[in-house]
């Protein structure tokens, strides 16, 4: 038997969370070091998985399967493909940098890191799950620590409201998707005689055939259930008109949690929408394709415009996430190779970029105690590292060639153009707007004159912060310069999705 690397990745944060809970809450430094050690370990393992994924074989790899509740066909079944491998790496990266950035949290660090790791364990679990039940199980584990993390350590003015709003939105989405999943289970059982939550069994051609009778109308099963399942998950991906929780949540959350939240959690929604919505219900995806395309287009353009008029530094980034996640959904909705490869890359690229953004915003806010653009200025002198990182992030966000954003967004636009050129034209407006709001933020925060009250009060960032920023920047450069590090891998995953769609 091979080394169960994926299980180790999933359980590292969970076990670390347990250990941290049992530590003495007064010994804050020991807690931090334990957290960092676990994060480094998880990162190394995820890097290892990323580079040892065998591209010549493709398909799901590092498979492990254990019975969980065999009577009902529930198993602990994990494995990664070309789409989930980069996301596992992304989670490792964000977990590592998140711990570095949160080093100075002084209010109950034991609880903070324990909940953060519980969240990370849930996220890993979803990305590697090949069993629908297991996916839900870990999905919910990822949702509830968010409430506590935002409510306890968040921004005092909106945290209670934002945390509750976020939790209710996400729970609502996931339970609707759950009802869809249960319906799928019984449908697959009826069609194939095998009652299982195993997604590899459920995605087999013909497993989801059949009709749903409702008010005397016969609707194909896949068409009926696609919307609750896809939208239920896509809520976490921030799809319009259910995106409202996301900027509020991002802004209220403490820095590391914003990074996790925008960087990884939103991908969780998009990923589950792809894995369960599109891959298990391909006919439904084809049927509702234009609706998703339309909603995603609104996300892209509307999100960018709203970001433009924000005066709060963090809200700008919050809405830019809505806009960029719209691009992911846009890529999915094309259902063609270019668009989906772009979407897969965009999930990774946006995750890294937005983690960097939120890290930078957090560092500025911790020192200036304000995020209002008119009150800031001249930070480049005091915080050169932060300024450079933010500018790099901004360039990625605008899709500058040579950086990861370009590698991701270009194929998306190609795919969309191939499908509906007009949509591509409209969506491209967002690029201009993005450039606008990023440059405005850069100018007003980092350049110009520093307001008098900040003179001498801005302390430089620590080495740990620099490592975190540096790591994230490096990844974006690497992917931008060498797209072949990731693009072929994602393409392998996408080919599998296309195979399922072709069989529809």
């Amino acid at each position: 038997m091979q080394f169960p690397i994926l299980s180790v990745i999933v359980f590292t944060p969970l076990v670390a969370s347990l250990i941290i809970f049992l530590m003495n809450g007064e010994r804050k430094n020991e807690i931090r070091v334990t957290a960092l050690a676990a994060a480094v370990f998880a990162l190394l393992l995820s890097v290892w998985v990323y580079f040892s994924y065998d591209q010549s074989v493709a398909g799901y790899q590092f498979l492990e399967k254990y019975d969980w509740l065999p009577v009902l066909g529930i198993s602990y079944h994990v494995g990664v493909d070309g789409i989930s491998t980069p996301l596992v790496l992304l989670t490792g990266l964000v977990m590592f940098t998140g711990v570095l950035i949160s080093w100075n949290i002084d209010d109950r660090p034991r609880e903070f890191f324990a909940f953060l790791f519980l969240l990370a364990g849930g996220v890993f679990g979803v990305f590697v799950a090949l069993d629908l039940f297991m996916l839900f199980f870990f999905y919910e584990i990822a949702v509830f620590p968010m409430y506590l993390l935002i409510a306890i350590w968040g921004w005092k003015q909106t945290r209670e409201y934002a945390a509750m709003k976020l939790t209710l939105y996400l729970f609502l989405g996931s339970v609707f998707a759950l009802v869809g999943a249960l319906a799928m289970y019984w449908q697959v059982g009826q069609n194939t005689g095998v009652f299982t939550f195993d997604m590899l069994q459920m995605e087999k051609a013909g497993a989801m055939a059949g009709m749903v009778e409702i008010f005397g109308l016969a609707i194909p099963f896949q068409v009926f259930w696609f919307l609750p399942v896809f939208l239920g998950f896509a809520i976490l991906g921030g799809i319009f008109p259910f995106h409202n929780w996301s900027p509020d949540g991002h802004v209220a959350a403490p820095t590391a949690v914003s990074m996790f939240h925008a960087g990884v959690l939103m991908k969780l929604g998009a990923f589950a929408a792809l894995r369960v919505g599109i891959m298990l219900l391909p006919e439904g995806a084809v049927y509702w394709k234009y609706l998703i395309l339309g909603l995603a287009l609104v996300n892209v353009v509307y999100g960018a415009f709203i970001a433009m008029i924000q005066t709060d530094f963090k809200y700008i980034i919050g809405f830019s996430s809505v806009s960029h996640m719209g691009l992911v959904m846009l890529g999915f909705a094309t259902l063609n190779r270019e668009g989906m490869v772009g979407a897969g890359l965009q999930m990774f690229s946006h995750g890294v970029m937005t983690a960097l953004f939120f890290a930078a915003v957090g560092m500025v806010y911790d020192r200036a105690h304000t995020r209002q653009l008119p009150e800031l200025g001249g930070m480049v002198k005091a915080l050169p590292w932060v300024a450079i990182s933010f500018i790099i992030g901004g360039l990625v966000s605008m899709g500058m060639p040579g950086l990861s954003g370009f590698v991701a967004e270009f194929p998306i636009f190609m795919g969309v153009w191939k499908d509906q050129w007009l949509v591509a034209v409209i969506a491209s407006i967002s690029i201009v707007i993005t450039a606008g709001y990023v440059l405005i933020a850069v100018r007003r925060v980092f350049f110009g004159d520093m307001p008098a009250q900040f003179e001498g009060h801005i302390t430089p960032i620590s080495v740990l912060d620099k490592i975190a920023l540096g790591t994230l920047c490096l990844v974006m450069f690497a992917l931008g310069m060498f797209p072949s590090l990731m693009a072929p891998l994602v393409e392998l995953g996408v080919m599998n999705v296309l195979r399922l769609l072709g069989g529809a």
Binding site: F136, E140, A151, I152, T167, L168, L178, V179, L182, Y185
Partner: protein, 485 residues
Amino acid sequence: MSINFLSILPEVLMLVLGILILVLDPLWKDEKRRLNLGWLTAGGLFAVLIISLLFGRPGAQGELAWGGMIRFDMLGYAFKLFFIFAAAITALLMMDVEGTSRRAEAFALLLASTIGMSLMATASDLVMLYLAIETTSIPLYVLAGFLLDDKKSIEAGFKYLLFGAMTSAVLLYGLTLVYGFGGATGFDELSTQFASSTPFSVGVLILLVVGLGFKLSLAPFHFWAPDTYEGSPTPVAGFLSTASKAAGFAVLARLFLTTFGSSAQEWQMLLAILAAVTMILGNLVALAQKNIKRLLAYSSIAHAGYALLGVIAASELGIASAVYYLLAYVLTNLAAFGIVTIVGRTVGSDDVRAYDGLSRRSPYLALAMLAAFLSLSGMPPFGGFIGKFLVFFAAIQAGWTWLVVIGIITSIVGVYYYLTVMKYVYLYRMEGEDEESNPIAISRPHLLAIGILTAGVILVGTIFAPWFGLSTDAAASLFSAALLK
């Protein structure tokens, strides 16, 4: 129909334990020594639990025993285990609670009630059933009003008694009609008499639902629950909301599926409407509660609605899911009430604001509370998630999608109020006090109880196969006897 001592082994042992406690009561005059009454009860009950686990397991098919009075089968067995466990935990919680800790009567009444519940879950005859229900209820009326110095407790006991007596009368009326038309008292003979659904059997069903609805605190028979829970000693409230409710479910499942299997269409619809009303009302009214015991009362009303989904599905999977749900719910709700007991003892208040800053005052107690409340709201990796999952799963299979949709929407409401309580625990600070210098004192028995329960909630929520095996065995034994296949 044999005389099988194994079938009533736990009841006999509990009776012996109860007598022992009453005998020791006058002998142990020393106040310190009297504290051991609780240890004796709890320890004895755990011993009974282990003996039942080792020796008390019935055959897969089940058999009638004691002249057809009881059916010795897996369904009754599973529920008996729940009751004995719940009673043991309740005994632990009753120790170190002012008013119940040194009173032998309190523990004896607890045991008497548990014996009644065990007989309820196995009763296979109308006479036995009614006797068992009364044996369960009367000690509970007394326990609810046990704190004679506390007006609220007296009110609680009295309200419970009045409500209980009235619904018991309605139930008895229903049972006499069943006897009158069926000409027998055994469930098996009756099921042949009621082999086809008639308007009459539907009428009888309504009367029975009233009687059992009170035990389950289904809306609209729930009015007693919040007041009774609020006033009674907290461990007793926990026992009422878990074991007593589970006993009602055992009777409901057995009576309706075996004797009234032919009228399934009718009672399914009847229960579905009640379940929908119960889930909506319980969750919505809980939103407005400021007293944690009242909040938990409404939440437990709502939970009865979810567990009912499994019975409504009326399939083997449905009953198994309901049994699993009740297992998870018994563990979780006992934990919740246990925490309320502990906090109430130090703080002296059951207001939700009394929980401000709890996570700083006692981090691990706060963590246990988090586990219990997340389990109640149906989040993994706690028992509540898989419980809800299974009942929804069974209900979807049986085609009750609309009921499931109501269930999930109301469970989102549930998430709101459970998390609101956690907000007080984790986010808010004590008014003008330093939390670190005001820790919550946790006594040894309480610590033991909470430890067992929290571990149980996580165990039931992560490792499913053994518990689900027990649940399916219980369901299968019922279906081997049921008309409805």
